[in-house]
């Protein structure tokens, strides 16, 4: 296997930057794609999850279909659908940079999983909370806003944490449409330098660091929003 050659990172890529600089910008793209997709997933997933718990058969059915649709097609294929099919169908989307298509693909894919958690969180609350809200004269949206959701979201912070870590890992699939994120960098730099082991080790390390950082952040958040009076809650 030969000796280590970490100096490969100081080599010039031919484009006026070193491989180290390229890798750092690739890391930035990975984090950007993951965080934007997470935002999409949380917003869309929450809405779909809420729809699945409302007393309206049509909306529930829409929510269920959404989840089945985005859960039963591989992420790679979904990304290609956004990349090949959507811009052909809607010509106005042709000008959109491909990073946005990947953000929406990854975000919608993850929204199905978030919706599952949101639904589970709402259903974990005693039924009486919903009735109490309605009995006090709150409208249904008000009941969700002031009674159900503040509890439900705090219950599901731990599973959402693992979804956030998954989204960092899943963002690697963006290599397929040539977003220059970490995995794409790893593939190209490996080919150009033939120092695959060093490059893969560095990239794998950066994935570890990113997932770990999200994990710590979520733990901090979890402690801040704990529900007082529950087993985890204290105070």
């Amino acid at each position: 296997m030969g000796k280590w050659d970490w100096q490969v990172f100081l080599q010039d890529t031919g484009g006026g930057q070193t491989y180290l600089q390229w890798m750092m910008s690739a890391w930035g793209w990975t984090l950007l794609v993951a965080l934007l997709a997470l935002a999409v997933a949380l917003v869309v997933g929450s809405m779909v999850g809420i729809l699945r718990t409302v007393p309206n058969k049509g909306l529930v059915y829409f929510g269920e279909s959404w989840v089945e649709l985005f859960r039963n097609v591989p992420l790679l294929v979904q990304i290609f659908i956004w990349y090949h099919v959507i811009p052909t169908m809607f010509l106005s989307l042709r000008a959109i940079p491909s990073i946005w298509l990947v953000v929406f693909a990854l975000g919608f894919f993850t929204s199905a999983r978030v919706a599952e958690q949101v639904k589970a969180g709402i259903n974990a609350l005693p039924k009486g909370q919903r009735y109490a809200g309605l009995a006090m004269g709150l409208t249904l949206p008000q009941t969700y806003r002031y009674v159900l959701l503040p509890m439900a979201f705090r219950i599901i912070v731990p599973p959402l944490t693992s979804e956030s870590m998954n989204i960092i890992k899943n963002s690697a699939v963006a290599f397929a449409v040539s977003i220059t994120e970490l995995t794409m960098f790893a593939m190209q730099a490996q080919e150009e330098t033939s120092r695959g082991v060093e490059i893969y080790l560095a990239v794998t390390g950066l994935y570890f660091v990113s997932a770990f950082a999200i994990n710590r952040l979520a733990l901090f958040l979890e402690q801040r929003v704990q529900i007082p009076g529950t087993l985890g809650g204290g105070k």
Binding site: T183, Y200, Y207
Partner: protein, 223 residues
């Protein structure tokens, strides 16, 4: 909205020439990685529950490492490392089979660990009380129950595995998606073949998950 789709070129002849070969590989990869992954995963789960530090630490390291790396990177790692270790190149197909078995074992082992822990402690004591060895107790009493309790979860993981096999795209193996992609390139109809691929994946995965749901209900009644 500009819908100008033409699926007529996707005749049985085209499908059997391009797609079937890929479908067979995807299914093959899924089944081998499932059987190998569950076997290896059960072994790792038993290591983690053995109570012996020198077994627990490597098993935990294995599971935690693989679970925190993107699957695409794992595929690339194996494709790079296996030829370096054995000294000759290995085909993409064989490389994918080894990668998925090793990778899925980490996920299956977590399921089997939960399954083993779900078996009542009294069952183990009963096994020992009638004079069984550790091996016999595990093999004849604990594992069959753990396996049965976890069957729906194991199958759900297998559906995820089937979807994940599409990621062999990274090393260019010829799987179900690749089959559609090649057909699309040949007939210059990439939009139609992408849609067709999505539909085929959806139909397979959705019907399998419906079956798992029915199985789950059946098992739930007996318990």
């Amino acid at each position: 909205m500009n819908l100008n789709l033409d699926f007529t070129f996707l005749t049985w002849g085209v499908i059997s020439a391009f797609v079937i070969k890929g479908l067979i590989f995807s299914v093959q990869l899924t089944i081998i990685a499932m059987i190998g992954g569950i076997a290896l995963g059960t072994l790792i789960a038993l290591m983690r529950l053995s109570g012996k530090r020198w077994l627990i630490l490597p098993a935990a390291f294995y599971v935690n490492t693989l679970r925190s790396i993107p699957l695409v990177m794992v595929i690339l790692w194996f494709f790079l490392l296996i030829p370096l270790l054995i000294g000759r190149p290995l085909g993409t197909e064989l490389s994918a089979i080894i990668t998925f078995t090793v990778f899925e074992a980490a996920y299956y082992s977590e399921i089997m660990r939960a399954g083993i822990q779900s078996v009542a402690r009294g069952q183990v004591y009963a096994g020992y009380a009638v004079g069984m060895t550790y091996r016999q107790t595990m093999q004849l009493i604990v594992l069959p129950q753990a396996f049965r309790n976890m069957l729906p979860v194991l199958l759900t993981q297998t559906i995820i595995l089937f979807q994940d096999t599409s990621l062999v795209y990274a090393i260019g193996a010829y799987d179900l998606y690749k089959g559609f992609e090649v057909a699309g390139k040949n007939f210059n109809r990439p939009v139609e073949t992408t849609i067709a691929a999505a539909v085929v994946y959806f139909v397979i995965c959705f019907s399998l998950s419906m079956l798992v749901r029915r199985l789950q209900k059946k098992i739930a009644i007996i318990r």
